[in-house]
């Protein structure tokens, strides 16, 4: 084979007397180019998954990812998904045999061995929950690592450089803190886990960085928490205030007309009050999520490249409602469309400032996993 005419970009062949070429810094544009064909792919995948009793779904998932990934263009060149259905299948089989089957047996036997109220059953349940939370953390990390290592742009793949077990430990600890803090640990856990993940992330050998603390997220979070508490207190108060408790809990000398009136009030509160709680707390939650998305992008850099994400409350509401509708009306079959909408949302709204010497980025040296995402699949961690 002839000698490669192109040197390695990072170490240009130096010729005596000639200065090395200056770094060719480039700006980075990320765009989503819509492609047809997802509907056909979705239908074929669904039918084949039925015919093959679910086995095809791993290959189908891979086809969907190839389709969606190739719609993402960075500096006019598409992203490429190089994973295979076989890797996903293998991952699912390994996790199924090593973890799910023993866990299922443990739970079935535990439910038979001890009555629900016994302390041992409770302890077993708590231990299983802790273990599962730990596994969910590991699974999240491993799934991200797998996808990054199968995401290729200009022949260079991504990676996640840290240890899944360490991430799992951090994940478990931070989520456990939600209980004693009544949820107030949430921004801290989100920022902590995102920092961990982003700082481990590489494109080729070039690292991403996350600089940020949970502080700025506490104002939007307090809005959600307090707003939610207030709305629940108001509607709950209306309920307790307008309902005669004697009537509800077994007074014998009740006036039937009075009872009927009470029944109507309760019905009205359930039909109007509960939806109000859901809508308002959902809205507050979106306000927080939009702030979080923007903040995470602001905190993320890649060399001199700075990210920005234009996540607005209204756009996030339409995105979420649309996705819920798709899942409801297609009974989940339309999931690929939900995935595409999510990715398109981020990709289309992601912008970068600054420049980076793309040509100098070297290929990742991390070894490729031979199977992928079994854990994430098992615990249904996310839809991709």
């Amino acid at each position: 084979m002839a000698q490669q005419p192109w040197g390695t970009g990072a170490t240009p062949v130096s010729v005596p007397g000639v200065a090395p070429p200056p770094p060719r810094k480039e700006t980075v544009r990320i765009a989503f180019h819509h492609q047809e064909g997802l509907l056909g792919l979705t239908i074929i995948n669904f039918l084949l998954s039925i015919v093959t009793l679910g086995i095809y779904s791993f290959w189908g998932k891979t086809e969907i990812r190839k389709h969606i990934w190739s719609s993402i263009h960075i500096n006019d060149e598409p992203l490429e998904y190089t994973g295979t259905g076989w890797e996903l299948f293998l991952g699912a089989v390994i996790v199924g045999l090593l973890i799910l089957v023993p866990l299922a047996f443990l739970q079935i036997f535990a439910s038979f061995l001890f009555t629900a109220s016994s302390t041992i059953a409770g302890l077993v349940q708590v231990a299983v929950s802790i273990f599962v939370l730990f596994l969910v953390g590991i699974g999240t990390y491993r799934a991200r690592r797998y996808r990054l290592s199968r995401s290729v742009w200009r022949g260079i793949r991504g990676s996640l450089a840290g240890s899944p077990v360490r991430f799992g430990g951090s994940f478990l600890f931070r989520y456990a803190m939600l209980v004693p803090t009544l949820g107030w640990a949430y921004p801290w856990l989100r920022v902590g886990l995102n920092r961990h993940m982003t700082n481990d992330m590489r494109f080729g050998q070039h690292p991403f960085h996350f600089r940020g603390s949970a502080g700025p997220l506490y104002l939007p979070f307090a809005t959600v928490w307090i707003g939610g508490a207030v709305i629940i207190a108001v509607i709950g108060g209306l309920f307790w205030g307008s309902v005669d408790m004697n009537l509800l809990f077994g007074g014998d000398d009740t006036d039937p007309l009075q009872a009927q009136r009470q029944g109507l009030i309760i019905l009205g509160l359930v039909l109007i009050g509960l939806p109000i709680i859901f809508v308002i707390s959902g809205l507050l939650w979106v306000i927080y999520k939009a702030a979080e998305l923007r903040y995470f992008a602001d905190c993320t850099t890649f060399g001199d490249l700075q990210f920005r994400l234009d996540a607005t409350v209204w756009s996030l509401i339409t995105l979420t409602l649309g996705n819920i509708m798709i899942m409801l009306f297609t009974l989940g079959i339309g999931r690929p469309f939900v995935q595409r909408r999510l990715i398109r949302y981020v990709v289309a709204r992601l912008e970068t400032d600054g420049t980076v010497d793309i040509a100098a980025i070297q290929q990742s040296q991390q070894q490729l996993d031979r199977s992928g995402e079994g854990l994430a699949e098992a615990f249904d961690i996310d839809g991709f």
Binding site: M1, A2, Q4, V51, E77, S111
Partner: protein
């Protein structure tokens, strides 16, 4: 033919080592694509057989190719026209890979069916006996207790003292290892009997009332003890667990333990195959012969059932048809029992004990 500069097409090359994008001139060489930097003599050769598409070559826009010998490198062909000419020489990079896909799909279907068949065979036939033997007896005891509780629901246990003694005497005739407390009568109109994991046997008051003699009850008891002896309840539990595991693996469901508590699963837990019923009958006859009780008692009970309720198709709520459905092929089974040659026998219970047993529910 001399090299014509119009032969060369512009492309881009990623070498798989860095993210640099190199402009290259691509030509058709002998047996493969040849490309290199413009105006440079150094060239790379990719054979047609080794070419792979990143995505099948599109009708318009650039095409992206990989090469088996350098899986991380990428060659981007800018011109769709040139890309189509590449497809002519290396058909595998084109969109049409029809027969390969069909073969793949067929393979998937076969694999799916085969996997299902193997899993079913494992779960239904191969594994139950082995797994059932691995689980400690005390666990089965706990499970049997829970199954009994969900079976009888709110029905009261019949515990007239003399009746219980009579029942225990009957059970001890089959084996002195039986724990008297593990055979119980519940006040239920249903005409049925059940064997459960851990050696428990439940008879209904409906069954005792329907029986014409103590021998008939003894026949049914022996039959249930036959199930116990052959470990049918334990094996059936393993089968149901296994099926639920397969189902949840296929459809990603959860709450397996909850599902078992439902009556549908309960029915599955307590239902046996015809061959299991035949095996229990055979063991019952053996037990009865050994206990010097006339094995015809079991056959008589079947006849009583037939005479009283006939073969009529009852409604879903008809408890007798339930029994017939879970114990299929009565005539055949009666025939099996009749063929045996009984030795000298004594009644299963004395007349007095039989009266006590019939009155076992009188206190409830």
């Amino acid at each position: 033919m001399a090299s014509d500069p119009t032969d060369a097409h512009i492309g881009y090359f990623n070498d798989g080592q860095t993210a640099a994008s190199h402009e290259v001139e691509v030509r058709f060489g002998s047996g493969g694509l040849v490309f290199g930097p413009p105006g440079n003599s150094a060239e790379t050769h990719w054979s047609y057989e080794g070419l792979e598409p990143v995505r099948p070559v599109p009708q318009s826009g650039p095409s992206r190719l990989r090469y088996q010998g350098a899986p991380e490198a990428r060659l981007i062909i800018a011109s769709p026209k040139f890309a189509r000419e590449v497809v002519q020489r290396a058909p595998q990079v084109g969109t049409r890979a029809g027969h390969k896909t069909t073969a793949k799909i067929a393979a998937f279907c076969v694999a799916g069916v085969a996997a299902f068949a193997v899993a079913s065979w494992l779960v239904l036939s191969a594994a139950p006996a082995t797994v059932a033997a691995m689980v400690p007896q005390s666990w089965w005891g706990f499970m049997g207790e829970k199954i009994e509780a969900s079976l009888v629901k709110t029905a009261k246990r019949c515990d007239a003292a003399e009746g219980k003694k009579a029942l225990a005497r009957m059970a001890f005739r089959f084996s002195d290892e039986i724990e008297a407390n593990s055979v119980r009568v519940y006040n239920m109109p249903l005409v049925n009997a059940f064997a459960m994991a851990g050696g428990r046997v439940v008879l209904t008051s409906g069954l005792i009332n329907a029986a014409q003699s103590a021998d008939e009850v003894a026949g049914v008891l022996a039959h249930e003890l036959g199930h116990v002896k052959a470990h049918h309840p334990e094996e059936q539990l393993v089968r149901v667990f296994g099926l639920q595991l397969i189902m949840s693996a296929l459809w990603g469901g959860s709450g397996m333990a909850d599902a078992l508590a439902q009556s549908g699963a309960l029915l599955a837990v307590l239902r046996y195959t015809r061959s299991a019923e035949r095996e229990a009958d055979a063991i019952a006859v053996e037990l009865m012969e050994k206990a010097k009780i006339d094995p015809q008692g079991l056959a008589d009970f079947f006849r009583t059932l037939k005479k009283t309720y006939g073969g009529e198709a009852g409604s879903e709520t008809n408890q007798v048809t339930n029994l017939l459905r879970t114990h299929p092929g009565l005539d055949e089974r009666i025939g099996q029992i009749r063929k045996r040659e009984p030795g000298p026998t004594t009644p299963a219970l004395s007349d007095e004990d039989w009266q006590h047993l019939k009155a076992i529910c009188s206190g409830t």
